[in-house]
Symmetry: C2
Subunit: 334 residues, 2 copies
């Protein structure tokens, strides 16, 4: 019995420009019946992340290359519809590389079975790549120590907000930089950040100096560009800079220059690290348990921005680059 | 009995421009007689280093600030003339902060007594700050491992040439980048570098790719600017980048942009470290013994460019920035 499977395919590569709805083609095929050891999964939620644009562009070389005409890649949560594998049964909830489509047929081991509880959608957020990035970027690279001052850019974003809250649990003073008074209030009033600076209100660096008079011990950067450069002028001795993202770069026609203040790494004996979370995959299960406990204990709070309908996938992903989203951007498909 | 003491004083700060002879004033005072616990030292050799310009500019904040009218700072080798301390006697050779002057009166503990042998002037080179920088920059930050590919910029300079040779001892494949065929021949034919690339001959990056097809594991940078940016596009997974110097910056009116390719730190899980060698001072004695043994065994070779006469101090320091020197720049004073 054939099931129609609506899909978004990659039509154009958005290198050196803004992502557009016309970079995708809307199509319908038949979902393939599962073979031996395979399952048929129905997409429930899709994750929207800046790295998806990089995958369309084949930059970095850390993921398998994409081709024009491929189903657009995306992590998601699904429900098993048919199963030819004893490890999964219809109704089970799973996390996997669903792609922008209604159905995925895939070998059972490519999916992670997750609990069908109140934390289900967190598997695309604080219990997923976002949370793992925050956890391992801090534990392996940023190494927060009680009393350290931690500055997070893009602090109201999915990764930044979790990184800041983990740094608070680690006993640090945490300053978030975000766009707009609502996001800033959320950081200080709900997440317990010690200070929040609205970059849209100007004068960021004097405010950073006032909030961090001893300098920045850990700089968690999701932005890049001029903001990163300016903040690198404010680091403390032995600072650790974690390059997590670079929203200022992702849609630039011409890449912004790197930080002129990189030379401050010398004077401050500091270290700048690049972070790709997939390197720590073997340690994800232990981290998920800790983060789930922190969420249940109210020590990590999350916010999700849920748009609805697979037909809205391109415009929903575009929200991540414009900053329109408040919290982790999700798309509810079914 | 008074001794006349010719000195160069700081007259102007050379921030954001080329160092000039008129940045210094030539003067003569009387050398002060040593008090209790003090010695009078006659300057034999002075070290010329790019960091001296930074000290005139008070950048970085890692050394005590200079004032206009101060004796120009410089490390040097001296000979004890008078001593009021039992640890030093006339004729002893010492290393210390001599400054651009013929005589220094100072407490004995500020000086390091060194052997009066064929390695005497190496205490301003491979056994001094230059060698310590190479040794600790590699052992603490670059962490060369047998089989690694190490690229050194400013490779024919005092620090770069020692760093490259230590990397060879560590079992690495070493590629030097230097200006001109003479410097490049010296690297490959005398120091045993595996390859040398003349940046003045153009096409640096294709040559780096040919010499390092697996990418750069350790990048030792003395240059900064466009060269650093381009090389950061060629790093291997888990690369370590050691920022030792930035000759492209020291005399720039407008600082060159930082490396746009800093984002490659993410894709390559790489790390960029700043290095100030004074942090490892407690470990210098052990490192000096190793390096002296390597020099005596012919495994580290050095080259010195010795100019003569304290009156030539400003023009001798300017050679370091123009690249006119071949090897460690020294000034013989007496």
């Amino acid at each position: 019995m054939a099931r129609m499977n609506r899909q978004w395919l990659i039509a154009e590569r958005p290198n050196n420009r803004t992502l557009q709805a016309t970079d995708f083609t809307w199509t319908t095929t038949e979902a393939r019946s599962p073979g031996p050891g395979e399952v048929l999964v129905r997409t429930l939620y899709l994750s929207c992340d800046p790295s998806q644009k990089g995958q369309m562009e084949n930059i970095g070389g850390y993921a398998a290359p994409t081709e024009i005409g491929d189903v657009m890649r995306a992590g998601g949560i699904g429900e098993i519809v048919e199963s030819n594998d004893p490890s999964l049964k219809p109704g089970d909830k799973v996390v996997g590389a669903m792609g922008w489509q209604e159905y995925l047929t895939t070998p059972a081991p490519t999916l992670l079975k997750v609990g069908d509880d109140e934390l289900l959608t967190e598997h695309l957020g604080a219990l997923g790549g976002v949370g793992m990035t925050a956890y391992f970027g801090l534990s392996k690279l940023g190494r927060p120590f009680p009393g350290d001052t931690v500055v997070v850019t893009g602090a109201a974003g999915a990764t930044g907000s979790v990184a800041g809250q983990i740094a608070k649990i680690a006993g640090c003073r945490v300053i978030g930089i975000a766009g707009g008074p609502d996001k800033c209030r959320w950081l200080t009033d709900e997440l317990g950040f010690d200070a929040a600076i609205d970059y849209k209100a100007g004068d960021v660096i004097p405010k950073v100096r006032a909030a961090a008079p001893g300098g920045i011990d850990v700089l968690w950067d999701n932005v890049g560009g001029q903001l990163l450069d300016d903040l690198m002028g404010e680091i403390a001795l032995y600072a650790r800079i974690v390059i997590c993202g670079g929203i200022a770069r992702y849609e630039a026609e011409v890449l912004p220059p790197g930080p002129t203040n990189y030379f401050n790494l010398i004077f401050k004996r500091a270290t700048m690290h690049g972070l790709l979370v997939i390197d720590y995959q073997s340690e994800f299960p232990a981290a998920r348990i800790r983060i789930a406990n922190w969420i249940r204990a109210g020590r990590i709070k999350t916010r999700q921005d849920v748009q609805v309908g697979l037909e809205n996938a391109p415009t929903t992903l575009m929200r991540v680059f414009s900053g329109a989203n408040t919290g982790k951007q999700l798309l509810k498909v079914a």
